[in-house]
Symmetry: C2
Subunit: 329 residues, 2 copies
Amino acid sequence: MMAGSTEESPILAVDLGGTKIVTALISSRGEIISREYNPTLAEEGADAVINRILTTVNSLVSKALSSSYSIATIGIAAAGAIDSEKGLVTDSPNLPGWHNIPLKDMVEKATGIRTFIMNDASAAALGEHIFGAGRGMNNLIYLTVSTGIGGGIIINGRLYSGPSGSAGEIGHTTIDINGPRCSCGNIGCLEMLASGKAVAREAQRLIAQGAKTAIIELAEGDLQNITAQTVATAAQKGDTLALTIVSKAANYLGVGMVNLVNIFNPEMIIVGGGMAKMGNMLLDGARKVVTERAFQMPAQLVRIVPSQLGDNAGVLGAVAFAKELRRPL
Amino acid sequence: MMAGSTEESPILAVDLGGTKIVTALISSRGEIISREYNPTLAEEGADAVINRILTTVNSLVSKALSSSYSIATIGIAAAGAIDSEKGLVTDSPNLPGWHNIPLKDMVEKATGIRTFIMNDASAAALGEHIFGAGRGMNNLIYLTVSTGIGGGIIINGRLYSGPSGSAGEIGHTTIDINGPRCSCGNIGCLEMLASGKAVAREAQRLIAQGAKTAIIELAEGDLQNITAQTVATAAQKGDTLALTIVSKAANYLGVGMVNLVNIFNPEMIIVGGGMAKMGNMLLDGARKVVTERAFQMPAQLVRIVPSQLGDNAGVLGAVAFAKELRRPL
């Protein structure tokens, strides 16, 4: 049985990532009523993760009911290739074992509540467009720069997902034709050069070659402990090697943005994800490359800004998506 | 005085390129009634070229009148950065001396006929979408691969030009971060590697280094005579060096297409411009790279095809644009 839908009732939103699951009850105006974080523990396999999602969702639905909220819609933002029409997680590099999982149907069956599913970077783009940094911007690109690099595209005020729903894979565009092979099968991808993974790998490589830096102390002497966060912390303390690595990543990110500026002539590029927490330490370098290399007219127009919604961009985007879709045509 | 506008009256379309000006009288259904080619002689400067356009347009208007056609609209597709709203040729690398030329106003003043102006690659994209290879495709990318590389984007069945009207500069995206500097100021642009100019330059370079090839005979012994066409002719005759150069350009073009496929998930990529005349000799190599490196879902969807309209894509696009804009809102 599907519960009745009203424009006003809150939406239960889930952001399913490789490391954590954010679940939130959100009003249709984007106010977060309650929220919880759970670890994904993706390595336990698809069934375990699905059970964790269903348990969390059902517990939130019960809690909402006891506070006399009636949830009419569930919106899910999930990492990976998503078939929104069929409600499938087609494939997800950061969720081992997920292939053609009918997550929409599973959640609908478990809850009796109408459910929508979309890609997480697309959700974050939509979230920032409707509720965050991109309000009032009709043409913008959202880049999530974390372990990997994902993208979402807003064109003429609407999310653009492409006919197969796979548009926006900006992290998997070649910017170095002689660069390293990416796990996606492509070569010299932006993700291989400017992501958190790339920053950590570069630090490990240089330290293994004998570079002197505070990074290794922050990582308690173990190369394997080094993450982009370790490098960022060292850079904030003025560590020369860390600053060089961040500046190199900023340069690569800038090259990716030049491509976006020349292709899309967007009003705004919004940068989210873990690396965005570096703020201007990362973004100023990227802005400089855009000013120097992109076409003048679009370079003067575009504003390159950090995400306003941070970790909530995904769930808020899922809310915007669910609101849009549940509206009668 | 503006002439009256009807949905049915033919449109006079002009395609202003760096080397030639195509002028055509075209029915609103896209049938070419008459057409003429004139050399641009861009090196004579903006005034001389503008006079040439006005003379040609006025002569075609008179001829049309004497055949009792009443022209209600003129559509212009022009090379370079175009401000369609203000009717300006803002800047045009292949038209020396053209800066903020109010071409729309000039033509309206000289003819008394309502005029529209747009970028030539955008026009070609729209032409192929409405009248050519891309009919019925709602999401497609048009690439003109000639001396340079330009692009046009159709999203959700409509031309996407971006808020400054400069979107689609796909030729000026970095695919080789360590590559040569482009005249646009960017580095390792697709245009520097896969355009007609790049093919000719590569042949000249290898021959200067002593490579044996039929290309130099076709160019009558003069390196400066070598064009992409010379290389194509030699390749068609089985010349090894020419085949290697074409295959390398196809590879670069394929890398550019992988980026488009992963970003846009388009139904179709249409390749026009002089280099497209090489047909599958060029396109098969590019298709192979897309199959090998792009994400599987969008790679399986996209069709990579040559332009159907050839030299007429620009004028037919200008017709489609003028038809769309003259329609009452």
